[in-house]
């Protein structure tokens, strides 16, 4: 078991009313899973993903990640935890515009204090693996959306996380590029990486092993 969420609630108070963003979430994810979270706009998909990624907090409930009690951890330890085990892929890629492809991929290693030689070989591996060696000195603005997302995935993978969280990774891409990205995820999953993605697309959801359907912050069913 990679993570487990029990009785989790997240709400905001608006004008005396309590609006639930996440309502009584129960979720268990094992290593090697490929989960798709689906649901209409505003159903809480991204919020759930952010809670899992520890970028966002919650009001009530328990969250265990690799036997750590996330709900009791201090911010600092939480950050360490996700830094070590989680990689993020975003819908709009979120590459740093001022850094080259190479440097973008390298940045997480800098934050983990890898030595220069180690960084070099790891980044080189990653460039090789995704076939973007020739693009390593380009800036994000010089790449197509699909290529940018590949860089985004490479960056998420560089510190070999156990879990990849992808928020509509193909949302900004055309169908051909989207398919490429999904195949990439499939391949990574086959190699043992756990993946949780948020998606609108039925087709993309079929790449996963399990689909969680959300509505108004509540899990309505799991397929």
């Amino acid at each position: 078991m990679l993570l487990e969420i029990k009785d989790l609630f997240k709400w905001v108070n608006s004008g005396g009313n309590r609006i639930f963003l996440l309502n009584d979430i129960e979720l268990t994810i094992n290593e090697g899973d490929f989960i798709s979270i689906m649901g209409p706009s505003g159903s809480g998909k991204t919020t759930l993903l952010n809670v899992i990624g520890m970028l966002d907090d919650f009001n009530e409930g328990e969250y265990h990640f690799l036997d750590q009690e996330v709900h009791t951890l201090k911010e600092k330890y939480r950050a360490k935890l996700y830094k070590d085990y989680i990689g993020f892929v975003f819908q709009s890629y979120h590459l740093i515009d001022e850094l080259t492809v190479y440097e973008n991929i390298e940045t997480p290693l800098l934050y983990k204090n890898y030595k220069s030689a180690e960084r070099k070989s790891l980044v080189a591996d990653m460039l090789d693996r995704f076939n973007i060696v020739g693009k390593k000195d380009l800036f994000p603005s010089q790449l197509s959306g699909g290529q940018q997302q590949i860089v985004g995935i490479a960056r998420a993978l560089i510190s070999s996380p156990k879990l990849i969280l992808a928020d509509e990774p193909t949302g900004n891409l055309n169908s051909k590029q989207g398919e490429e990205i999904m195949n990439l995820f499939k391949q990574l999953n086959d190699e043992g990486v756990t993946i949780i993605q948020v998606t609108h697309s039925e087709k993309n959801a079929t790449y996963g092993s399990r689909i969680i359907n959300l509505l108004d912050g509540r899990i309505i069913n799991t397929v």
Partner: protein, 802 residues
């Protein structure tokens, strides 16, 4: 890691060229101002420090109290230095007296030069620790000797060693060069001394001093020298100063109770910056300017830092996304903070390096208007250390807000794009803009008032006509032949009139006390400034007779006649002064008649009331050392000067002819205020420039931030004018707040400054209207460029970017 930070900082700078230019440029200009002023202050504070015995040197001065008014003088009796040596020998290592700097002619072969020098007792060379290039320090022991400055020696002798050469002083006395000393530096009180002559020689040339020194009690006779001392080891100047306080009163045989004299020591470290006295105590002097410019310099620097901060924070909000990404991929807060700090320190350091070039560029200009000799201390490590420390400090201050504020964001918030600089985020920036404009407006108001005051004083009635008036020093030959010179020049029609007087009309004249007259208040001490002149003086300067008549030869050429100025009449409290009699202090029997009253002549400071003056017609050369000549306005100045020179040369063939213009000397009275005015103007312009630069940057940022809003409004039908109005309104409000703060503060400060002048302008309301109006116009122009550009942009483009 560090490299990564630098890299991204550098790329950000390159990518946003205009932002970088504004940011670094503005900061560099601000730093340059601070550096120039800092260097200038350093120069002022190190004035005279080149003298080895700086801390042990003092000038002897005295406070004289007459009619309840205390005035401070550096003139002392001829016996003072000897008296100090005899009475307080243990307290002083040296005590010397000398004359004030004056121009003398020095002849070598058949060449003659007019140069500036003083007579001094021999130990002056020790006190000033002269660095001898040729000869020896004690070269003033012999009566007929002279020490030359290096530059004078080069003028006279070129590269050769002049020791032993003979010069002719004032075309009369042979003197032997006994040494050459290194020139005094620019920031020494003695920098004007081209040469030094022995005091004994001075005494030998003047029968009066000899008489005084040989009289029964020389302390009674007085005299006029300047006196310097070097303290003995283990003495405290202030203590010794108290000890010698009553030396004159104690030594005088008869005590004049109406007249108090207290002697004190004024230490060398205070000469330059604390040289002004009022009621017998030091009230500062140059130190006021040091403070003034120190504060203004800091303010300008503050403006630049505010800009830097403002732009950095404005920019950094654009970078919130980057913060979010970095956090999501594992950066912790500390790392982000150091990244932002490194960026701002990089910028401020670049600005510092750039400012060095700016300083090198503006220094000559600054030195010209400030009449200073500021240099960059290239080889002083302290300068560089301070500069770098300062840039790091600036960088940290400016980087503080983005570093601490932005790094605190939750990544989800920024990445979702919900992050928006709300009202609260822009408040500090608004405060910064307000303070910037407050400073600028204050400087504008200050500048206008300084110029108003100068203008006011310049327009003050002079009481004479300074145009076409020139002054030439008399010599024995020309004095003797004044009537012939005058007639021949008038006949040639090169001049209108010519006369002689004791002083230049632009310098305060000597005083004499003890006058008596009928109806005098017994408590009043009859002290006046004495204008020793000859018959044609009034006609030469064109003074205005109010009552009675001018001097005239028709009333007997030998009798002394008196003309008072209006202030003297008021001082004496006389009604119908013409025909009244004044009794001379020295000889009670001699009476002189007042023949006329003239309108006040503005002789000394244009900012102070005119003092009581008595003008008397006299004859002796000792009292008449300057010719005053009114040129014929119908002839060209050059032609007339040529003719005058030719006539003077017939009496003094070898003496160089030198004439000075009264209007130039008069203009010098405003030198200091003009200098302040010019500098404050320069600083005000820079301050406004920097503020506008910041405003421009901020406006472009705001326009960028609101680009979507502008697009939507445009689609909904807003006109360019309305959009411009919307974008400019915010800034205008800030400037108006700044006006409200700046005006009262500036009025208060400037009112204080004006109190310094007894003759001062009043502050009028239009000054603040002008300053505020100017600030509003400048703001509108600055902001409009960006506003109009944003308003005119095609909305489709701006809306598509989301």
């Amino acid at each position: 890691m560090l490299r990564n930070y630098f890299k991204i900082a550098w790329r950000n700078l390159i990518k946003n060229k205009s932002y970088t230019l504004i940011n670094i440029g503005g900061l560099a200009v601000g730093m340059a101002v601070a550096i120039v002023i800092g260097l200038w202050i350093y120069g002022e504070l190190s004035y005279n420090k080149n003298h080895e015995n700086y801390n042990r040197i003092a000038q002897v001065m005295q406070n004289q109290t007459v009619n309840g008014i205390t005035e401070t003088w550096d003139a002392l009796p001829f016996i003072m230095s000897e008296g100090l040596r005899n009475e307080y020998g243990n307290d002083f290592k040296y005590a010397v007296q000398g004359t004030w700097e004056s121009e003398y002619t020095l002849g070598f072969g058949n060449k003659m030069f007019i140069k500036t020098g003083s007579y001094f007792e021999p130990e002056i060379t020790e006190i000033l620790s002269l660095n001898m290039i040729n000869g020896v320090r004690n070269g003033l022991k012999e009566m007929h000797s002279i020490l030359l400055s290096q530059s004078l020696s080069e003028v006279l002798f070129g590269k050769m060693d002049p020791v032993g050469e003979i010069l002719k002083l004032e075309n009369k006395v042979d003197i032997k060069v006994t040494g050459v000393y290194e020139d005094f530096p620019e920031n020494s009180s003695f920098k004007k001394l081209d040469f030094i002559l022995p005091w004994d020689l001075y005494v030998s040339q003047d029968w009066w001093i000899k008489e005084v020194l040989e009289s029964v009690n020389p302390w009674d006779a007085g005299g006029s020298t300047r006196t310097y001392v070097q303290m003995a080891e283990n003495t405290i100047i202030e203590e010794v100063s108290l000890k010698i306080r009553d030396i004159i009163t104690d030594k005088k045989s008869e005590l004049d109770k109406t007249y108090e004299q207290e002697v004190f020591l004024h230490r060398m470290s205070k000469w330059h910056l604390y040289g002004e006295f009022k009621n017998g105590t030091s009230i500062g002097g140059g130190i006021g300017d040091v403070w003034l410019f120190g504060v203004i310099g800091l303010l300008v620097l503050l403006l630049a830092c505010i800009n830097f901060m403002n732009l950095s924070t404005a920019r950094s909000e654009k970078r919130a996304k980057e913060v979010g990404i970095r956090k999501a991929i594992g950066s912790n807060r500390r790392q982000l903070i150091s990244q932002f700090f490194i960026e701002s320190i990089l910028i401020s350091t670049l600005a510092f390096l750039f400012s060095i070039f700016v300083v090198a560029f503006i220094l000559p200009f600054f030195n010209r208007i400030a009449d200073s000799h500021v240099v960059i201390l290239w080889d002083n490590p302290l300068f560089w250390i301070l500069g770098l420390a300062f840039s790091i400090l600036t960088g940290i201050t400016a980087g503080m807000y983005p570093a601490l504020y932005l790094s605190s964001f939750k990544p989800v918030k920024v990445l979702k794009g919900v992050f928006k600089a709300g009202q609260s985020a822009s408040t500090p920036r608004q405060i910064l803009v307000v303070s910037q404009f407050t400073i600028s407006i204050m400087l504008i108001i200050g500048t206008i008032i300084v110029y108003q005051q100068i203008n006011y004083a310049q327009n003050r009635p002079l009481g004479y006509d300074k145009d076409g008036l020139i002054a030439v020093s008399t010599t024995e030959e020309t004095h003797k032949n004044i009537d012939a010179i005058r007639l021949s020049l008038i006949n040639e029609e090169s001049i209108i009139e010519m006369s002689e007087s004791n002083n230049l009309i632009t310098d305060e004249w000597n005083t004499a006390g003890g006058f008596e007259w009928d109806g005098k208040d017994s408590k009043l001490v009859g002290e006046f400034h004495i204008g020793s002149v000859n018959y044609d003086y009034g006609k030469t300067i064109g003074w205005k007779i109010k009552e009675g008549r001018d001097f005239s030869r028709e009333f007997g050429t030998d009798s002394i006649q008196l003309i008072l100025n209006e202030s003297a009449v008021a001082f004496m409290n006389l009604k119908d002064p013409v025909g009244k009699i004044l009794r001379n202090p020295g000889e009670a029997s001699s009476v002189i008649t007042i023949v006329g009253v003239v309108e006040d002549l503005l002789i000394a400071s244009p900012y102070e009331p005119v003092k009581p003056y008595i003008f008397a017609n006299v004859k002796g050369r000792g009292k008449l050392s300057e010719f005053l000549i009114k040129l014929n306005p119908e002839k060209s100045v050059k032609e007339s000067l040529g003719k005058i020179e030719a006539v003077f040369k017939t009496y003094n063939p070898s003496r160089p002819f030198e004439a000075s213009f009264v209007d130039e000397a008069y203009a010098k009275k405003f030198g200091n205020e003009k200098r302040i005015g010019q500098l404050v103007t320069l600083l005000a312009i820079l301050a406004i420039f920097i503020s506008c630069l910041g405003l421009f940057g901020l406006a472009s940022y705001m326009a960028e931030q609101r680009i979507k809003e502008i697009g939507i409004r445009k689609v909904l039908g807003a006109s360019v004018l309305r959009l411009w109005n919307m974008l400019s309104k915010d800034f205008l409000g800030l400037v108006i707040i700044a006006c409200a703060i700046a005006v009262p503060v500036a009025y208060y400060v400037m009112d204080g400054w004006l109190q310094k002048f007894e003759y001062r302008t009043s502050i009028s309301w239009w000054v603040s209207v002008l300053a505020c109006g100017g600030a509003v116009v400048v703001t509108l122009i600055t902001v409009s460029y960006q506003g109009v550009k944003a308003a005119k942009a095609n909305p489709i483009k701006s809306l598509k970017t989301e």
